[in-house]
């Protein structure tokens, strides 16, 4: 049996990689890719806690599914924003989008 710590460490590492992507990427789409990694890391944690806690309590899995819904909402709106910005400003480089209004 795999100890819980392995999953938690894996999830922490994946979260950090995603964080690095979010902080260092210039392209807005790539930033959203990093956010996906972070959300997945959280999901691994949730499911691991379900498995290693009381199995009859489904909270872990329910929250994992809710995270799927949140990820879907985040991606669809986020990418729509990127496309919308691209149409007006012709760029997807996050650094160039430093005005709050144009």
């Amino acid at each position: 049996m795999i100890p819980l710590s392995w999953y938690l460490l894996f999830s922490a590492a994946l979260f950090s990689i995603g964080l690095f992507g979010v902080l260092s990427r210039r392209n807005a789409v790539a930033i959203l890719l990093g956010v996906e990694l972070m959300l997945n890391a959280i999901n691994v944690n949730l499911v691991a806690f379900w498995r290693y806690g009381d199995i009859a309590v489904m909270a872990g899995q329910v929250f994992a599914i809710i995270v799927f819904a949140v990820a879907a909402a985040e991606v669809s709106v986020g990418l729509a924003l990127v496309i919308s910005v691209y149409r007006r400003r012709n760029t997807v480089i996050a650094e160039d989008l430093d005005l709050l209004k144009w």
Partner: protein
Amino acid sequence: MTTEQIIFLIVAGATLAAGLLVVTSRNLIHAALWLVATLFGVAILYTLLNAGFIAVVQVVVYIGAIAILFIFAVMLTRKDMRDSGPQHNKTWWLGALVSLLTFGGLFAVLGQWSGLAKTGAELPAGFDSVAALGEALTSANGYVLPFEVASVLLLAAMVGAVYLAFNKK
């Protein structure tokens, strides 16, 4: 070391490597494909956790829909197949530092926690996690409200995204 542990180590290592490639690939389509590989690895970890439903959902939602959405978005927002110029901003080292610190902090916090070496109980025979999930999602003292709120959230996301992507001004 048991077979399960070996499988875990291989899958986890490959997943993290693919995750690193997601954040470092120059070609965004490659980055999206590496994301697919990462998510697939995570799905395998879910099966190791006996959460088959979550694993399949992971493949259906992430690989079947979100990855496709990413690839479409990349193709819609690029004029050139090859990307010129740096893919990382000037302060990428700061990002690397912050994420390393985050990992270090999480590592330190986890090290102090007592429940870390916990191993899970055996699954009770005949336990059907899908049925249990269905019951939890719909019974009145379960998670009915999150269930319906998720629907509203998805509605809001759909309306907002359709509005944003199609606002031709």
